[in-house]
């Protein structure tokens, strides 16, 4: 018999944030910001390790970060860091069963409204996601003001 098509969505499906509401968008942002911060951490270690090559090498490396592109990357890092932390706290509490709602009797027509009211898709979760996004945006604006200001 021919090999059955597994029909797994794969990475593309995992990374598609468009279909399952705000919670899936938060999941996507959390993963993306996690990867971004990992990349930054590696870059940061590379950057700071230039000090072992003496002051000239270190200054040269610092100059690289003092460009517009460097500032934009740092602004993005600030946003990723704040979102990942704030949303991470929500997810960690949720993982312990905190703030995920209370079981009850499902009511016909079993649509999403009940899960949004008393279940795991509740407004507190959604509010925390929006707050995380807002905090990240605010931190980025502040970061930009500091980095690009005189």
């Amino acid at each position: 018999m021919a090999e059955r098509m597994s029909n797994r969505e794969g990475l593309r499906g995992m990374a598609n944030p468009a279909r399952y509401g705000l919670e899936r968008v938060a999941y996507w942002l959390q993963r993306l910001s996690g990867l971004g911060l990992l990349a930054y951490l590696i870059g940061h270690i590379y950057e700071t390790s230039s000090i072992v090559n003496g002051k000239v090498a270190w200054d040269k490396m610092l100059e690289l970060t003092q460009t517009t592109q460097g500032h934009l990357i740092l602004t993005l890092v600030i946003g990723m860091c704040v979102f990942h932390t704030a949303n991470g706290i929500r997810v960690m509490l949720g993982h312990g069963g905190i703030g995920v709602g209370k079981p009850g009797q499902p009511e016909y027509p079993y649509d999403k409204s009940q899960r949004s009211a008393t279940g795991s898709l509740n407004y507190k979760q959604r509010l925390c996601i929006w707050v995380s996004i807002a905090l990240a945006a605010l931190a980025m604006m502040y970061g930009m003001a500091v980095l690009f200001g005189d």
Binding site: Y20, V91, G97
Partner: protein, 254 residues
Amino acid sequence: MAVETISKTPEVSVPISSNSIILRISRFNSKTDSSPTFAEFKVPVQKWTTVLEAILFVKQNLDHSVAVRYSCRQASCGSCGMQINGKPSLACYTKISELNSNVVTVEPMHNFPIIRDLAVDFKQMFATHKKMKPYIVREDSEVTPGTKEFLQTPEDVEKYLQFSYCIKCGLCNSSCPTMATDTSFIGPQGLAQAYRYVADNRDDGKKERLKIIDQSHGIWRCHFAGSCSHVCPKGVDPAMAIQLLRGYLLGFRK
């Protein structure tokens, strides 16, 4: 997917009115095809026509070879889960009119092997479900002489009732981002069922079940994306069950 399109119009006398839609059905035979194609059919619909009825119209009048699994036609058996216009849904529980589109595309559920066309293989999900010990585990029984009924208060029942509504349709597994990449993940369906029995105060199998789910492709792979709860057609809320279950392993719950 979808490279070749086969279009069919009815040969029988079918009233083609303004109330007709184009139904695009994904066709794939695991024995003969290398990739799926779409076949398009013009189907007359009423306000109340469900996606399953539209597919059955095609089977009866246009192409009887379309493979689809169904039984109850009333969202109870869990057979007819599929991707309807890109969203995992039950075909018998989705009205064409609520899709607000003249083109309805049906594809097999993601994350399940395709048997043919819209019918997918549930073997792995059923095996995982069975592994969760989906029954009350305890030494005595209600039917042993000398024992009596296991009484529960309404509050006791409410702790697990929601999760016992699961019809094993697999829609939650097909929407889960971890399921999309991890072939061995237990999945929201199985984990929600583990919680259903762990939360039942007649059950003594908590320790065994927690051991089964506390493994590398187990509960820790859930990242609380909530997609399972978005698509569940029975209000089960697997995402809540999984987080409450994890609470036991993390010591937040006793």
